[in-house]
Symmetry: D2
Subunit: 352 residues, 4 copies
C-alpha cells in the first residue's frame, strides 16, 4: 500500500490546522452545497384517515385538550422524524377537540391555517371573533393574534393544522405568549369579519387589520365548492391540475398568509392528468371523492397512493405529481410557495 | 420504586402505536416548537484576519482556483460545524484568487455578494461584463447568472463571499450549471451597468435585467465612504448604530438582493453605543478602524470582541449588539432581513 | 385724471411685446393658479328621477338605441353646460334600453361603470360574457374591451353610466373602435368571471385579464346589501358616513377601476351625520330610502336636497357633505379618488 | 325650403325640454366625446431663447422677484392662450432671479421641477436645505414643502419651471400657504439629502421624507451627462431617441414626482432618428448642441424646428416626433407620463 500523495498530506494538514478556527474548505463540499437540481431529504408519504382516526380518538382519551394545550398528532415526514416537520419548511398535524373542551388562548409568531376534516360545531376564536367550523372550511389564525378553540359539537371535531413552524425556527424568529384568560372574550358577532371583507368590498376607513394576512378568518367550503363546480362546467380543464383555484387575501390579491399558499382543486370524473413538478413542497387533504396519486422523485423513484376522503399526503420539492380520478376528487392543499416567490427561487415545470 | 401511573402507561403505549404511522404527539414538544422568544442554536464568533490569512495563503499553495472551482475557506458557526453555515440561513466564506488565476464560469440559483477585503485588480464577470475589485467595494452576483472570477493583480486578492445557500437548501430549490467556457466572453465595457443604473437614472427602454436583484453589479467603496463621511459631519448620530446606510436596488428602492440585506456603517471616533437586538442574524466585516463589540445572548451570556480591519464576526438572531470605538470604525454587514420582512417575522428591539 | 405710472406703462408695454411670443407674466395670475384652497367651478346639483324619467321615456320614442348607439341623457353640471361633464373630471348619464333593443358593440379607452337604477333583464356583454342587470348591481366595462348592451326585459331598463371621459379628454389619450358585429358573440357562460374571481379565490394560472381593472364584471346588490346590513347591526356606525364600504378589485385590493372609486353606504334610520369634505368630487345614486343632503361650498353657500330612490346628485370637490335620514337610506356613489391618490393630491377633512 | 322632418322636430322639442334640467343627449356629441384617436387642442410650439431672454431681462427691470413672488414668463401653448398651460395638463415657465434677490417662501399642493438654463450660483431652498443651481441640473420641489429661491450669483440666473398646475386645477385639489419668513431658515448643510439618498444607499431608519416624491432635491448635470456619454460610447443607440434615460426616485425606482416624468437624452452626432408618438405630451429644453425637430400632428400637419441651446419646445399628445442632429444634441424633457400610467391610458407607437 502506498503512502498518501504529498499534496494530499499537505491538504489534510491544512484542514486540521483550520478546523480550530471554525474554517472549512469549500471545495470539499461545493458539489453538495450547490446541487444541479433540488434533492430534498423529504420523501412522499400518505396518512390514511382510517388508520389515523383511531389514534386520534385514543389521544382524546389519553389527554384533555386543556392539558395538551393543543391535542394534535403531528404528521412527520418519514425522512425527518423527530423534527416535527412534514417538509423541511412546513408543519402539519391533525387536531382533535371533543364536545365541551377548550384549547386555551395563546398567541405566537407562527401563522396557522385550519382545514376542517371531520365534524361541525367546534369554533376557533381569533381577535375576539368566533368562527364555527364546518368540513371543508379553510380558517386562518394570523401571526401574533390570540386564539383559542372550543367545541359545542355533539361529537369529535378534527381539523388539519398547517403552520410555518419550521421556517420560523430556521430563521430564529419565534415568539409566544399565553393568554390571561382560558378562552378569550367574544367582542364581535360571528361573521362580521367576513361581512366586512368577504364580498369584494371593504370598509372605507381602517387599514388591513392583520397586516399581510387576510382579514377574512374563514373561507367557507360552500362557496369554494360552488366556484369549482361552476368552472368545471364552464371553463377549460387544465391537463395537469384539473380546476385549481388559489385562496386570496382580498386586500392584496396575494396569498392569505405571507408564508403559506392555499389551494382548492377539483379533478373531474375520468380525469387522467399529466405530471408537473415545482420547488415548493405541498401537503394535500382529500375533501371528497377518490384519486390515484403518482409522485416521482428527481431520481425516478415512483410512489403511488390511492386516496379517499380525509386522507393526507405530502409531495416534496421537485417531485413530479400526477393525478388520476375515475369518480372525480376535490383536494385542498397548502405549500410554502409565497416564500419561494419572495426569495425569487420558485421554479415550475410541466412535463408532457 | 413505583410502577408508572396507568395514564402514563397508556400514553406510552399510544406513542408506540402511532410511531410507525409517522405520527408524534404535539403536546410533548409544543414548548420547544413555539418558544417564548428566539433561541438560536448559533453562537457569536470572530474570525481574526491575522489568523485566517496565513491559512488562506496556504490554501493558495495547496490547490489552484481552477481545481477548487472556488478557493474559499467557509466561516462556520462553531455551533453549526459541518453545515457550511455561519447562521442557520446564511453562508459566509473568504475567497482567495492569485495573480493570473481563473475561477471558472458557472451559475446557480443561489445569490451571492462579494465584499472586497484585500487587494485590487481582480475582477468578477457577470453577464458578459467584468467588474474590477477594490477594497470596500460591494459586488453582486444575481441568481442564475453565469459568473467567473479572475485576477490581473500583482498579489493575492481576498473577498468575503455572502450567499443564501442554507436558505435555498432549506427550501429545496437549488439548481446549478457549469459554463461552457472557462471564463465567459466579455460583451460589455466595464462600468456600463453602473452608467445605466448608478446615477439615479435608468434607461427608458428595458425592464429590470435581473428581476428583483439590483442591476448594479458594483457599489464602489469610494462613494459609500463619501456618503458616510458627509452624514457623520452633517447628520445626527444614531445612539445605537452611529451612521448606518443600507444599499438599495435603484429600480425598487428595496434591498439589492431578494434574500440578503447589506449595510455600511460608520462609528464616529469616541462612539459608545447602546445595545439593540433583532431577529435577523448578521455577518460583519471591518473595513477601517477599530471597535469593541459586545454581543449578549437572550440567556445573558456576553461575548466581547476587539476588532480591527479585515476581521469578521457573526451576531446571531436576537442577540443584543453594542459597539464602542475610540478611533472610529467602518463596518460592512449583511443579514437575512429581506426574508424576515417578506415572511412578516422581523422584530427589532432597541435597549436603553 | 392722472397718466398711468411709468412703471405700469413699462409693464403694459412688456406684456404687449411678449404676447406674440406666447409668453405671459405669471405674477398677474399667480393667485388664481395657486389658490389657498380648492375653488371648483362646479356646483352641487340634483336630478330627481320623477322629472328625468319622463324625458328618458320620450327619448325612447324619439330615437332607437341602435341609431343613438347609446341612448343616454347626460347629467351636466349646471356650471359646466356643454362640456358633457358632471364634475371637471367625471361624466355621468342615465341610459335607457327598451325591450328587444341592442346598443351596438364598440370599445374605447374610457372606462365605464353601470349602476342599475330601474328594471331587470337587460344585459351588458363584455369580452364575450353577458351580465344580466338587476337594480343595485354595480357593473364594470374595462378600458378597451368590446361591449354591447341589449334587453330581454319586459319593460324599460335604466342605469347610471359613470365614465372617466373628461379625464381621458384632458390627458388627450382617447381611442375608440366600433365592433365588426352588431352585438358580440357570447363565448362564455354568464357568471364565469364571478365564479373565477368573486369568491375570494382566483385561478392559479393566468394573470389579471383586464390589467388594473377588476376581473369581476358585476358586483350584485344582493351581496353588497347583505354586507351593509350585517355591519349596520354589528359594527360601530361612523358619525360622518354611517356604514360605508368601497368596492374592491380582488386581484389587488385596490379600486375596481384605475380612474374611478365606487362606494355603497347605508345611513341607519334616524341618522343625523356630521359634515366632511374631500378633494375628490362624487356622484350619488339613491338606491333605497330617503335622506336629506346638505352640501356647503368652501364659500359657505349651502344647498339642501331631499332625496329618494333613483334620485342622483353631485358633490363637487371640497364641498362639505352632511346626511340626515329618518327612514334610513342606501346610496351608491363614485368619484375620481383613485386619481387623487395616484397624484398624491387627495385631502380629506372631517368637520365636527 | 322644406319644413323640418317631424321626428327632427320632436327631438328638438325634447332637447329644449331637458335643457332646464341640466340634461343633454349623448348621441349628439358621442363622436366628439369618444374620438377614434387623440385630437389634442394643443399645437407644437417653439420658444427661442434668443427671443425670450431680452423679455426676461426687461421683466427683471419691470418688477422685483419679491414683488412678483415668482418672476416667471409662462410658456403658453398658442392654442391655449390665457390658460397658463403649455399642454392641457402641464405648466411651463422661465423664471429669472437677479443677484441678491429673494423669491419669498411659500408652499402649495402643486409639484414643481426646476431645470437650470442659464447662470450659476442661485439657490433654491426646500425643507431647510439649500441647493445651488448649475446649468443642466434638475431640481425638485415636492408637493406641500416650503420653498424659496435666492441668488448670490454675479449675473442673472434663469431656469425652466415645470409644474402640474393644470392637473391640480382640473381635479380641484389645490391648496397654498405663504411662509412666515421671507426665506426659510437653513437647518441642514447643502448636499445632505444627496448624501443620504444619492449614492444607491439610504438611511436604515426613517421613511420616505416626501412620500411618493424623490428625497433627492437635485440631480446634477455633471452626473447625468457622464451617464449619457458612457452609454453613447458603449451601448446600442436607439433609432428613435438616441440615448435616453429617465430620472428615478431611488426609494421606489419610479418617477421622481407622482405627476411628472423627467428625462435626459443625447442624440449622437450625425443622428437621423425615426418618428414615434405617445399619448403623453412633453416639454423639451435643449441643453447642448443643435438638432432639427419634426413634429407631425395626427392630421398630418408637420412642423419643423431648428433648435439650439436653451431653446424650448412642446410636443402635444399623439404628435409624431422625429429628431435629426449633425452636431449631436443633449435634451432635457418632462411629461405627464406618470399620470397616463396610473390611469392606464398610456399608449406609445414607434413608426418606421
Amino acid at each position: 500500500m502506498n503512502a498518501p500523495h504529498p499534496a494530499a498530506r499537505e491538504r489534510e494538514q491544512l484542514y486540521r490546522d483550520m478546523d480550530p478556527l471554525n474554517l472549512t474548505p469549500l471545495w470539499e463540499v461545493l458539489h453538495a452545497l450547490v446541487p444541479v437540481h433540488p434533492q430534498s431529504p423529504c420523501v412522499p408519504a400518505l396518512w390514511r384517515y382510517e388508520e389515523v382516526r383511531p389514534l386520534l380518538m385514543r389521544a382524546g382519551q389519553a389527554i384533555t385538550a386543556e392539558e395538551a394545550v393543543r391535542r394534535v398528532l403531528i404528521l412527520e415526514n418519514p425522512a425527518l422524524r423527530g423534527q416535527s416537520a412534514i417538509t423541511q419548511s412546513l408543519y402539519a398535524g391533525l387536531q382533535l377537540i371533543m364536545p365541551g373542551e377548550v384549547a386555551p388562548a395563546h398567541r405566537h409568531t407562527q401563522s396557522a391555517l385550519r382545514f376542517i376534516v371531520e365534524g361541525s360545531g367546534a369554533y376557533t376564536a381569533v381577535d375576539g371573533e368566533r368562527t364555527t367550523m364546518r368540513p371543508g372550511d379553510f380558517i386562518i389564525t394570523p401571526s401574533w393574534t390570540f386564539h383559542d378553540h372550543g367545541s359545542e359539537a355533539e361529537g369529535p371535531v378534527v381539523w388539519l393544522d398547517g403552520l410555518d413552524i419550521p421556517m420560523v425556527r430556521f430563521f430564529d424568529a419565534g415568539f409566544a405568549e399565553n393568554g390571561s384568560a382560558r378562552s378569550q372574550q367574544v367582542t364581535r358577532v360571528e361573521g362580521s369579519s367576513f361581512a366586512r371583507y368577504g364580498h369584494n368590498m371593504a370598509p372605507v376607513r381602517g387599514d388591513a387589520p392583520f397586516g399581510a394576512t387576510s382579514p377574512i378568518f374563514s373561507y367557507p367550503y360552500e362557496r369554494s365548492r360552488e366556484a369549482l363546480e361552476r368552472l368545471e362546467r364552464d371553463a377549460p380543464i387544465d391537463e395537469w391540475e384539473g380546476v385549481k383555484l388559489r385562496y386570496l387575501n382580498p386586500l392584496t390579491g396575494g396569498w392569505p398568509m405571507p408564508t403559506l399558499a392555499t389551494f382548492m382543486q377539483k379533478l373531474p370524473a375520468g380525469f387522467s392528468g399529466r405530471a408537473a413538478r415545482q420547488t415548493d413542497g405541498a401537503v394535500y387533504s382529500v375533501v371528497e371523492g377518490r384519486a390515484v396519486v403518482h409522485v416521482e422523485s428527481p431520481q425516478g423513484a415512483i410512489v403511488r397512493h390511492e386516496v379517499g376522503p380525509r386522507d393526507h399526503f405530502v409531495v416534496p420539492s421537485w417531485h413530479a405529481l400526477r393525478f388520476e380520478s375515475e369518480a372525480g376528487c376535490v383536494l385542498f392543499s397548502f405549500s410554502d410557495r409565497p416564500v419561494h416567490q419572495a426569495l425569487g427561487i420558485l421554479k415550475e415545470e410541466r412535463l408532457s
